[in-house]
Structure formats: C-alpha cells, structure tokens
Symmetry: C2
Subunit: 455 residues, 2 copies
C-alpha cells in the first residue's frame, strides 16, 4: 500500500477539531500551523473558526479532495466517520484513540470493523492508539503532544511501535539539536505496519537511516526481510529481553516474542541493533551521517587522557580494535606533539592545542584506521576546531566521530554543526564510543550479508 | 592527613598567575572571582594587578598566612616553589603541571623530590597532573577549565582519578542542572589519594553520596576498606574491563589492575557500581537524594505504556522485581482509572491526567513496594504534578524516582526542583530504570555487609 496520502498529503482534515485546549483535537490542529498544504477542521458541534480556519460539519463537506484525515474522536464513533472518509475519497487516516485491539474483545471487534472499512475503501490507517507522526520538512506535525513540533528536518526516520516511545525519541532529537526526516508512532497497526513504513522511508531521498523501536510483530520474518532488502541502513531497539508480555499485550496488542530469535535474526539479516532509545538515535545518526565503515579499526584521538582510556576500554569490550599507527603517522604525530604525551593509539595531545586537528588528520589518513573517534572537553578559550575537522571525512575518506563534555546550551550548536558536515557528535565519551562500536558491528553484519548474496 | 587546608582554605595563593588569557595561571585566578576567602596572585615576572588583585613576588611575600597554593608552573621549577611554600607555612598545594610520574623516569624522580619536600613540610598535594578541584558552596573553583565554575552547590562529591574525567562529570552536572558538594581530580596522587579524600567528604555534612572514577590504585584493599567504613554511600565507576594498561600508565602512572577482583571487592564491601560517567552521577544523585531502599520491589507508574514496558524490561533484566500490588492498592487504582488501562504493575494511566499523582501515591503506600519509578512524557498543557509528587517520599516513606522526556531547556528546571525535594529525576526512562536498579543493588550489598558485621 503506497503511503503518499499519509506522509505526503496536500490536504488534511482534522476530524474532532476542538476549541477546548485540553482536547487532542485542539493540539493536533495547533501543531499544523506551519503545514505547507491545506488544513480543514471538521466538527459537527462547532461553529465559526479555529486558528483562522472555518469548521466543516463532515469530511464529506470539505471543499477540496482530502488526502489525510486525523481522527481525534472516541473509539465508538470511528466506524461511521471512516465510512464518511471513504465517501470523501480520503487516502489515509490517523486514529489517535485508544479502546481498540489493546483493550479486550470489544475493542478487538471494533478495530476489525474499522479495518474492514479502511481496506474496502483503500484507506491507510496509522493507529489506532497512536500519538501520530511528524514530517518536519513539510511542517506536517500530526503528533498531539505539544512541543514535538520543534523537531527540525534531518535525515533519520524514527519508526516506533509505541507512540509514547516515538514521542520520547522526538524530544531526544529536540534536546540534542538533531533533526529527523520523520517520526512515526505505529500504535495498533490496523493496516499500516512496520513493513510498509520502512519501504516508504527507504524510498525517501531525504532519509539516510531508519531506526525502529520494536516490541513485537506477528510477522518477524517479513520484518527482517524488508529491513535486509532496504538500501537505507536500518537499526532496531528490540524491547522485551525479559517477560513483559502481560503489560505489552495491553499496550499495542502485540507480544514481545522470543527475544533471542529476534536478536539472532537482526545479526543474520545485516540489521544494526541498540539497547536503549538514546543509543538507537545515536546509531541512526551515525549510520546516516558518517557513511560506511570499512573495518573494526578505530583511531582514538583525545585531548584528555582519562576519557581516552574510557573510550579504548568500551571500544575493545564491544569488539572493536585499536591497532598501532603506521610509522609515517607516528612520526608525524611525534613531530607535532611534545614528548610527554602518548603517541600510540589512543593518541593523547595532553590538552587542546591549535595543532589538535592536524593530529586527527594524520590518524584519519592512516591506512590501518577505518574510523576515528575524537574526544575533547569543551574549553571556550580553545574551541572545537570544528572548521578544521569538518573537511576530514571527505579529504581522507575515513569517517570521523566526535565526543565532548561541556555546558549543554553552549555546545549544542557546535555539535549540530559538526553533524551537518557528516561528523556524528555526542555529549559524552561513552556515547561516542558506543556509537562507533555499533556502526562497526553493523558494517561487519552487512559484509557477511553481502558475501552471502554474492555466492 | 587532614585536608582542611586543601578543601576549606581561608587564603589562597595562585603561583604562576598570568595576564595571558591562554595560560592556566590566568584561568585559575579568573575562576576564583567568587571565592569567599582571600586570593593572592604570585608571579616574580609580573607587576601591577590582575582582576583587581596586586601581584606578589613569592608566596613568602604574601601578607597573610596562605592555606592553599595553586601551582600553575612548569614541572622543573616545582621543587623550588614547594620549598617556598614550606617556608611560608602553606598547608596544601594543587600541582596542575604534567611531566611527573606519568612521563617516564625523569618525571618520576621529579615527583619523588616534590613529594619528599611536601611530606617533610606537611603539605598536602593534589596532583601533580590534575585539572584541580571545586567546592561550590565557598566559591572555591580551582579548576582550570573555563565553565566549570558554573557547577552549583549540591550534595554529591565527585572524586575522579583523571582530571579530564572530573571535568567531564562537572559539565554533566552543569548540563543537567545538578549541584555537587565537590569535584576533585586526583591526578598522580603524590600524597593525597582516594582514601584521604573519601574520608574528608565522608565527614563533610554537605555530602550525602561520594562517587569515584577509578582507573587503578596500588592499595585496592585500603580503598575498599575506606569505602566500606564510610557512613556516606559510595559508588564507583571502575574503568579497565579491557587491557588498556599501556595508555593508562602513561596517564596518571597507574595500572588498571585486575578488573574482576575490583568488581568482586566492591560487591563484598557494600559499594555501589556504575558502568559509565553518566550512570555514575545518576547513581550518586539517587543515593544522595532518595535515601535507603528496603528491598528489590519496584512499583512502576507510567502515563505512556511504551516507556513503561522499557522500564519493566530493564528493571527485571537488572534483577529488580515488579510484584503485584495488594488488593487495596488495585481497588484504589481501578477507582481512579478508566477500565481501558492496565492496573497491574506497571500501572499505565494511558495519558497524563489530573489524578496521576494520586495513582503514584497509592503505589507508594503499598507495603509490597520498596521504591516507585514514575515515567511521564512532558506535556506543557498538563505539567508534571511536581508539587503533588514532592510530598510523597516523606508521607509514605517510600523513595520515588522520576523519569521523563521533553525539550531539555524546558524540563531542566522541573527536574532540578524534584531533586531538591528528594526525588531523583532523569531525562530518559532507561536512565531512571538503571538508577533504580543500581540503588536496589547497592541496598542489597549493604544488607549483606551489615549482616556480616552483626555476626
């Protein structure tokens, strides 16, 4: 099912739009203030205007062809409204309400009824029981949580089984100054699930990595195959290492399944994995920004030794390697650095210094090195050498990752700038090291899958 | 060795104070602008004043008794200046410079010479090869990295083997709106090491938890015993799971030792552990704010199910338990919540609602529950119910932890407020769950140690 009507509509109707600020139908309309298409509030019980837009009684009364309907309604009235949407030729609907398959037998039968109407009428349903989605590039913020409309455009697509986790990831992106090409909360997956959404964003030119929050799905094999077939890198945070099925079933109606089978499947199908929401977004940004990594060999350059030891420790524990530099590199570094520092790998410049980026350049140029991890505490008097670093990935062909600590509100802009030139940037050495290790692991899985396909 | 002269001086001399902004001797003097004692710049090559304070030629010329000397000097001149400090009756010195035990034989013999002078003259040395320390309550910011003077007063003391890691932890505290009672970067530990610093802050009334960054020490047994003997909870991040000795030795002159022996020792001696700088500070804040936890039983209350599943999954994986609520609690919750949500443990309110804090109160009052973890995505229209939550720990005797996601700059103040009333607060559900699990593990270790001591 093509999802253009859902993610790239020209005309949107908010059904159940409301003048009461505490209602979802108010927040959803408010968040569409910057949408670059047409928006029509629909509510048979409201007169006049809201946010300068006149109300209509029914979606069938809207004077333009509606591509996407946002249903801010109680569950029981949903079937009738879906019939109206069918009559109006609506292509896609977001159903926010709960009380469907996650809520016992009655809810299940209601969801079946709604899905049948949608399937007959050719309507793609996001939800029910979702917080919505957002596509920042077109100002399409259909999420009902206030503040998620601050997510900026970027090249990572987030697809979350849980709307709440999608919201959490959206706020993470806002807090860390990272953009997203989209954030989608799937909810109960009536007829739009992981597979069609992954295929849509795989084909999207603005998306360079897709990250998934997964509780469980009936079609694990299908999901693995779609992820493997995607040209865009895919990373997954699979929840449910422990038995949390009672609670999970009451949530989006899905069991978490056999965790180990999933984890083995991700490895075999060349899919990256992460173990928390924070790491998931970090891995997504790394795969989207840094490009492919050729092998396990990391060159670590640090201006403070202690964090450098932490980086080396975590990288090795995760299976990465820190090879010796070749002689030319070591000689170049020795010529730059005073004798008291450590010019092995990690190389420690002792303190930030004007020549810091030259050291990074020599390491990035070393044939033994597949990826460089740079750590430097923020010192306003010295700065980050962002300009000097930014040309390195292109000049040397070696991906560079950057980690730092500093006052969040001062470093955020610098980190965003680095990411905009292809250098993933992290606010702690551990997050930088973990992202490098995950990207190396992903590259290794991809090589195995590639060799299998060549046979 | 008592460390009052180091951490609670009345008079400070900055030896090597400099008018050149790029010098450490400039930054150190600048960061002391708010110190509530006397500060004297010392430099035989400088005339006039700096930051309104007149230069003196030598520490022996300072017109008051100097408690603490901050040595912003190259390594080779340090012995002579230490002799001057002895003559002037200085009680403690911070030696920032590198080129000592971390830098080969020559440096080792220089460090020995300096330590001998210090020991003879009764001078406590922090360093050499450190970035300094800070005690916010008295405006004593002796750290040379600009911006670390923004750390506010709090009740967690950070003791880092590496000055760079101490700086990283200080910036973490700033970024997350958390205060510290102190941050100390030990460096080469000439005659002030972990043990005396831990004893000092154990006796400090403003310190309610001590967190350590540890690479390695020659006296592991002594360290374990000091930590066990402390009345204040101690948590450790031990680096060096992998072999990083080459690099570590070149850093602060210490090997990382046998990691497994350390980890076993921490468990046996009732010391909390953490696996990253972020987790270390999270555990420290939890131990300092939430107070003792009686057992492994967590009640999870969430306003968004997906993050609740993540919390349950991580807590169980870390050995915590999520017991059923007793009947009275379940009935009270059922009376508050509409039938569609899950009133087991975790309890999911579906969305934030005015009664959210009532649900938390019922769970906190349940005898089966030892600690409550609350998760709620930030919604400006709904708010955090911080006022209602804040009285719960005292009213119920049950520690409460709070986790959320939201735009960092908006939630930071709310999280700080919650922490100020004894509710540790975290900007992701994983960090909240990990902190709860670590505090539970710490409590279990403490009980075992207590039983051993009772025998």
């Amino acid at each position: 099912m093509a999802l253009n009507a859902l993610f790239s509509p020209e005309t949107v109707a908010v059904i159940g739009a409301s003048k009461s600020p505490e209602k979802i139908g108010h927040e959803v309309l408010a968040n569409l203030g910057g949408f670059d298409g047409d928006v029509f509030p629909v509510n048979p019980n409201s007169d006049g205007e809201l946010f300068g837009r006149p109300f209509h009684e029914s979606v069938t009364d809207v004077p333009k062809q509606v591509d996407l309907a946002l249903l801010c309604l109680p569950a029981p009235v949903t079937p009738d409204v879906m019939e109206d949407c069918g009559t109006a030729g609506v292509g896609a609907a977001v159903i926010y309400g709960g009380g469907f398959a996650e809520a016992g037998e009655e809810g299940e039968s209601l969801q079946r009824a709604v899905t049948e109407i949608a399937d007959e009428r050719g309507i793609s349903i996001l939800g029910p029981n979702t917080s919505g989605f957002l596509v920042p590039r077109s100002g399409l913020y259909t999420h009902f949580v206030d503040g998620t409309d601050r997510v900026e455009h970027g090249n990572v697509a987030v697809v979350a089984q849980s709307g709440g986790v999608g919201t959490a990831l959206a706020f993470q992106a806002v807090s860390e100054g990272r953009g997203l090409s989209a954030m989608v909360g799937l909810g109960n997956r009536a007829n739009v699930g992981f597979n069609s959404v992954i295929e849509y964003f795989d084909a999207d030119e603005e998306t360079d990595a897709i990250v998934l929050h997964l509780e469980g799905t009936d079609d694990a094999r299908g999901l693995l195959e779609v992820c493997e077939a995607a040209d865009t890198p895919v990373a997954v945070y699979k929840v449910g290492q422990e038995d949390v099925n009672d609670f999970a079933a009451s949530h989006t109606g899905a069991l978490t399944g056999d965790h180990e089978l999933y984890v083995g499947g991700f490895r075999q199908h060349g899919i990256a994995t992460a173990s928390s929401t924070t790491r998931l977004l970090d891995v997504g940004v790394t795969l989207a920004k840094a490009g492919p990594i050729d092998g396990p060999n990391v060159g670590v350059v640090t201006a403070q030794a202690g964090p450098g030891i932490i980086a080396a420790d975590r990288l090795k524990a995760a299976g990465a390697e820190l090879p010796s530099f070749d002689d030319a590199t070591s000689e170049s570094i020795d010529a730059i650095l005073p004798g008291i520092t450590f010019s092995g790998n990690p190389v420690d410049t002792g303190r930030p210094m004007p020549e810091f980026s030259d050291v990074v350049a020599h390491v990035a140029s070393d044939d033994a090195i597949d990826v460089v991890l740079v750590y430097q505490v923020y010192e306003p008097a010295v700065g980050f050498h962002a300009d000097a670093l930014s040309s390195l990935p292109e000049e040397t062909g070696t991906p560079v990752l950057f980690a730092t600590n500093g006052p969040e509100d001062e470093i955020r802009e610098d980190l965003s700038e680095l990411e905009s030139v292809g250098i993933p940037a992290f606010p702690s050495v551990e997050r930088g090291a973990d992202a490098a290790a995950a990207a190396i692991e992903y590259a290794a899985r991809q090589r195995v899958v590639g060799e299998g396909n060549d046979r």
